[in-house]
Symmetry: D2
Subunit: 342 residues, 4 copies
Amino acid sequence: MYPCGLDKLEGIFTPLLVPLDERGRINEPELRRFVSWLIERGVHGLYPNGSTGEFTRFTPEERRRIVQIVADETDGRVPILAGAAEANVNETLAACEAYAGMGARAVAIVAPFYYRLTPESVYAYFAEIARHSPIDLTLYNIPMFASPIDVPTIGRLAAEFPRVVGIKDSSGDVAFMMRMITAVRPKRPDFCFLTGWEAVLVPMIMIGCDGGTHASSNAVPEITRRMYDLARAGNYTEAMKWQFRILELFDAMLNPFEFPDGFRAAAGLRGFNFGRGRQPQTSAQRSDVAALTSVLNCILADFELVDPPAAGCPPRTGRIAEDKVEQVVFDVLRELEKRGVL
Amino acid sequence: MYPCGLDKLEGIFTPLLVPLDERGRINEPELRRFVSWLIERGVHGLYPNGSTGEFTRFTPEERRRIVQIVADETDGRVPILAGAAEANVNETLAACEAYAGMGARAVAIVAPFYYRLTPESVYAYFAEIARHSPIDLTLYNIPMFASPIDVPTIGRLAAEFPRVVGIKDSSGDVAFMMRMITAVRPKRPDFCFLTGWEAVLVPMIMIGCDGGTHASSNAVPEITRRMYDLARAGNYTEAMKWQFRILELFDAMLNPFEFPDGFRAAAGLRGFNFGRGRQPQTSAQRSDVAALTSVLNCILADFELVDPPAAGCPPRTGRIAEDKVEQVVFDVLRELEKRGVL
Amino acid sequence: MYPCGLDKLEGIFTPLLVPLDERGRINEPELRRFVSWLIERGVHGLYPNGSTGEFTRFTPEERRRIVQIVADETDGRVPILAGAAEANVNETLAACEAYAGMGARAVAIVAPFYYRLTPESVYAYFAEIARHSPIDLTLYNIPMFASPIDVPTIGRLAAEFPRVVGIKDSSGDVAFMMRMITAVRPKRPDFCFLTGWEAVLVPMIMIGCDGGTHASSNAVPEITRRMYDLARAGNYTEAMKWQFRILELFDAMLNPFEFPDGFRAAAGLRGFNFGRGRQPQTSAQRSDVAALTSVLNCILADFELVDPPAAGCPPRTGRIAEDKVEQVVFDVLRELEKRGVL
Amino acid sequence: MYPCGLDKLEGIFTPLLVPLDERGRINEPELRRFVSWLIERGVHGLYPNGSTGEFTRFTPEERRRIVQIVADETDGRVPILAGAAEANVNETLAACEAYAGMGARAVAIVAPFYYRLTPESVYAYFAEIARHSPIDLTLYNIPMFASPIDVPTIGRLAAEFPRVVGIKDSSGDVAFMMRMITAVRPKRPDFCFLTGWEAVLVPMIMIGCDGGTHASSNAVPEITRRMYDLARAGNYTEAMKWQFRILELFDAMLNPFEFPDGFRAAAGLRGFNFGRGRQPQTSAQRSDVAALTSVLNCILADFELVDPPAAGCPPRTGRIAEDKVEQVVFDVLRELEKRGVL
């Protein structure tokens, strides 16, 4: 109903996980294979260097190389929204220029993090970038990790800078999304609203969002796409069935793991080797990830996207109780071990 | 689609404001007039002694009297959900008994507040009440004011106690509501899910909620009802138009006031005298409330529910900017006054 | 160094636990015995109806009765600071009047709770009470449970109302205490500053506090008093030795229990029967309390205030590791039981 | 009393501000002049690449260059604690190696930020670095900006890794510091405890801290040093006089500014040109900084460290009210301007 962008930033954008090789370096062949696999499964666009892509754990050079590989492999099949936040405005603008040169459709800039800035400073930061960027940019609001971008700030930036073409919001707050839409759409009907919280994608589409950048689409791109299509077609009853199932998967990938390890584990079950992440793990954590990955395997098998684990899955009626007994026992043993009792 | 309750706790329940007389006592005639006015405007039920009803600011005797007046005036026209939280389990059970005797359909019990309890203690508290209550009860989750009730706790209580027939959740978190529904409905298809956050009523209905207890329905019962009916009928496009308008009103009643003074001010504009609240105000605050009430008056006039203020309303196109200039000037003067500059 | 009050509100005030009988009623004989025992062990004053006294879990009548018993038993031996917060300003003023009549030295009023009020409203609330109170009052700041009282508000109230004679602050924030002192002492050298956070009593005395109201003094009045005396005498080296030991005890009473159950358990070990609290417990919680009480017993035995448990205490060198093994094993078993594995 | 380190990491370490030239590049001559000026005024050590040094706003190459300049200018006169956190463990270890080569005494590693990690992951992160670092390292706990490091994690790291020689804690929580000391000192009497919160430096020294890394020492190194010396000598009465004055200055530098702009402004008043920071400012913010800097000027003039502003300072008795009128008027005008009224 609202035309979001000329060359639209709507639909499902995958915030790409980055496969690493056994020495922790970017695994280029696997990344290329992953990019093409996602495009073939129907995602509308790719979003390298997002939070799911662990942009903060790569060097500036590596971040550029990731976008280069993705752009090259994509070869124009889908638009690229490139995460371009760097240490400061000058470095960020240099990245914007580089990504424009690589053919990115737009860049996404997370609000300043580490320091928690006031709205006035968040405005000043984005305004300075918007004034000089050679490429369209989307704001990226993720208040659990970075300085929050409030509604008046979004309104000011949208009104003053045509280069600011959208916002990705990962708060998951439906009312906040409505407030942003109210503040911006009358002045900027082309402005794009993307949610980063797939737990509520269908409600977000219903209230007027244009799409989402969803970590889950690394693991189940077909399902995320289907849910989006059903919601955009107004078939909310059917869309909500998938929404409830995605929520179970999302919670299972999000809560018991360090982010984004659960998404890495699930996407790995689709046939990719993501390697170990760059954040070190204790041996207890490694055992934990193994146990939790079995649970993910059973959920994905329910979607009929992968085979169930060799050992089989517990019956799915008393679902929550049953399929976590294995994990409970493990948790207890780990706790005993940690406290030196075993 | 889901049968919520036998004698259903679904639809819009108004968490009643309590009119006070010039000496701060319950204004019984005005409360009676207000109750009947709400019922005539279509609310499905009444909810005395909620947070909007400032239950903590009344004595135990007053809380009982409020329910008595409401029950008497209602005379069976709509079901009553009576807030029954008292100082401890024994007192609460005595209130449950009293409200059962007055004909309440069910009671609502807020989670323990002041002390922030663990989930295990929240469970123990509700379990003890559910074991002995002579009347159905709904849990009341309002994490900004009271100990949070988490999903496993809700699941345990719903599974073990048939007396626990529903939950009212005021978190406004759509994903949380979905998690509760997932945890409870398979075992208790009769369980009622009510949202207390009208900012997202339509999305909440869409994902499967049964209704809401909305402070806004004190001021605009017709609109809340209409929004609910449209959403239940699956007419989300039309429902969302009202949802966006309710959100503007809700924010204008909620944010610049102390809760629930904005709701009292708006409901007062419908022709009721609520008197001064029991929380004292400085003279600066009283001027502030007067200015903000003018803004509410203009919003309600837009709904064609009241006449615009005598001085007229600013043009409504550039709405947010325009109709707050008055307030800005006031704010500045107040600030100067507060700091002793004027 | 600073004369705090005429009839001083300085030193250690015990926020009294309330013994209950087997039916959950106030156990008057035990309360009387406890009051006299505390006075004999050197506390400077008594503070009934505080957070430790679970004032919110008693009825208004019970709260009055508690103060009456305490006043009667104390019989002028030490000053009484009576918690007087009730449902609203009128009820609170009536309580103030009653407590004045009972001979209380002053009342303590916690900031409004449940609703989180702005500083302006917190000011309005206390100003209204201060204007009409027949007895001196102290502000009670406990931001984890009630609306925070900020420094400018404290400054305004201290400057305008002679009836406001002090503040009890339970934030435990040493810098915040210094900010209050800076804002108030130049204008009100008689104003009393009491900390409610015994974890940092010695540093608080060092920076200029007049005393404290400490839940721990229910269990170890002699130690709290000694620590206070040493600090007031400027013997910080010796005072800090006790401070570190009190911190271990405080954390053991505070963290693993629901507040104030750990303090009840420890005070019970001194020979009093506090009965079960009014907040219900699951059977898992009751076992937990038993195990944790053994740990408290060992710590109190180290102070040579009670005998060690019959089963003995683990060796105390590797203290933290050793004396919690028992608890760890219990925790694990409870967890297994809770999850239905055992 | 406790020997902290062989080559001690005790006393006042200045977390260095970095002067920038008019093009936003590191101003090497000014940085050298600043380093020598600080050493001459008595700070015990220098801490480049801390939060005050805005390490996140520099590139990896710039961070190395800053340490190189500081090491070169210091030339062994005082120990250097170099902030070495980089994008991931490998990059951090490379920085550790580089700083060891430059002669740093130790490195400081902030806990992982952006993502909020669990204690187990925080442990894994530091353990991996400690296992391979060629130089001693201190943990850096700053929970308002980075993943918190809890007491058990500190205990584990201190017990297992001799390379971990201390912690800098910027929480300002005195009880937390005591808990760390209790958990670590029995096993590691050489472990160094530094506070990063100068608002409570004297209490921290009193309870057993070894020193501090204080942003304020960029502006008033003589005073921070004097306060430290008095406290270490046990002269708390005198030390607290300075502590109260430092608190006023600290709050004036911290609260109304974006961090660390207030510290930059105050240090600039001592005769250094720090240039504009890398975080952009609106013109309203620039005016604001100018007005606030006048207030800082007056406070520093009170310390007799700088001349008062040409326009003079308001009388200092009614300090808080008086010296902010200028700022109030400014604030109001700015607010009016921002809202388009002027």
